[in-house]
Amino acid sequence: MPFAGFNMPINYKTGIINEHKNVRNHSGIFDVSHMGQILIENNESYLHKLEKYIPLQLKKLIKNRSHYSFLLNKDGGVIDDLIISNIDIKENSYLYIVYNASRKKEDEEIFISCAPNAEKIYNKNCLFAIQGPDSINVLKNIIDIPNNMNFFDILISKYNNNEIIVSRSGYTGEDGFELSIPNEIAENLITNLLKNENTMLCGLGSRDSLRLEAGLSLYGHELNEKITPIEAGLSWALDKERLEDENLNGNKVLSDQLKNKLSNKKIGLISTSKSMLRDGMTLFDNNNNEIGKITSGCFSPNLKKSIAIGYIISEFNTDNPIFCEIRKKLELVKINNLPFVKKNYKKNGSVYE
């Protein structure tokens, strides 16, 4: 199916549910080469310009660590969500940023305006994710992974004398790794990983159901330019000191939102029937008043029910019943805390802060 200008498989031959379970129980490999990857020189003037958009203290990022963050517009809305890491490649220090395929144009305009020599590397490096509790064992057979590598650590490793960027991260709620691999060796490396009979290639379908069970936001669904990270329930990813800094886009909006009540809140929902909850469906209270919308929905192979993420008005008392309009009928849905399935990251202490 077409996805952000790429032709991407929704699933491979065994189907979405099987791929999903294989990731939760063993491991699975996702080709995410459609995503943006860029290297920006770790230069004070570039970092200062980027800090207008990115709510982190970029000069203080720890070497070999990754952070989940955003590009913000002047109202504090999310231009994109991204993973930003501080790494050395061939003795030069860089910010390595991975961002959404669907937002390449908007993001790159900003990156290039801040750092004219920023280097897009997605045309020469593939990006693969291996996810699931067995990922470490599958990967260790062919690449050196230090035992003390934690979730959101990142390093340069070698495969067949080529440098690859290895980060312990992913977007499934499971332990796992993302590998930025030079095109010339990518097929060989992935074929080698797939020799392990417990791993398999997985498509966009299971990637979506895995991230939804893990309660993770997806750009274009839970996130867009009209929603701030605080409204999206992601204030943990904002550096609070930066909210006082007038150089940061939307800093006033964001610090006000932190102090005051928001108009909407993000919730998790679970179907009480066998019907599927889907993006765009409308939510109602028991007096037929519209109270919100679903932004993502899918079948959860772990819960064997449909699950969803959506936004509702904050005044709504969640002790009251919520109904979802499914094919012109109102069906009762239940609130469920996010995530639906517990995250299983490898970490000593906390990943953030």
Binding site: I10, G15, I16, I17, G205, S275, M276, R278, S306, R327
Partner: protein
């Protein structure tokens, strides 16, 4: 008994129909099952309803999308496959036999003759 079991025919909406003694059995084609992916739920039609060809009469939900199922010909719904209520994945396993969805008493057998034969359906899929 003189029971007459017809050849299986197909619609452009990827349903199959077979007729025995003026009773049509209907399901979705194996091709449809493959493109829908894992089927998790089916809303079955109501027994006793009279329907016209092309009416939307029930819905199949897969992990990818909800798909309407249309009546292939005019008639009355006389039976539904209740096994699918508990396990809609039967359609993935055996779309054109055990995964049948509903039966109709048909009113106009000419409508049936106009549907595609298996070979014609294969050609239709290749287009």
């Amino acid at each position: 008994m003189g029971a007459y079991m017809s050849e299986k025919k197909y619609t452009k909406d990827h349903e199959w129909v077979s007729i025995e003694n003026e009773i049509a059995t209907i399901g979705i084609s194996n091709h449809a099952q493959e493109s829908l992916g894992d089927i998790v739920f089916i809303e079955l039609p109501s027994v006793g309803n009279s329907v016209k060809a092309k009416d939307e009469i029930c819905v199949v939900e897969s992990v990818k999308a909800a798909s309407d199922i249309y009546a292939p010909i005019d008639g009355e719904i006389i039976e539904v496959n209740n096994n699918l209520e508990n396990d809609a994945a039967i359609i993935n396993q055996d779309a054109e036999n055990e995964g049948w969805i509903f039966k109709m008493k048909i009113s106009d057998s000419n409508q049936y003759s106009e549907l595609m034969s298996e070979d014609e359906y294969k050609q239709f899929l290749e287009q």
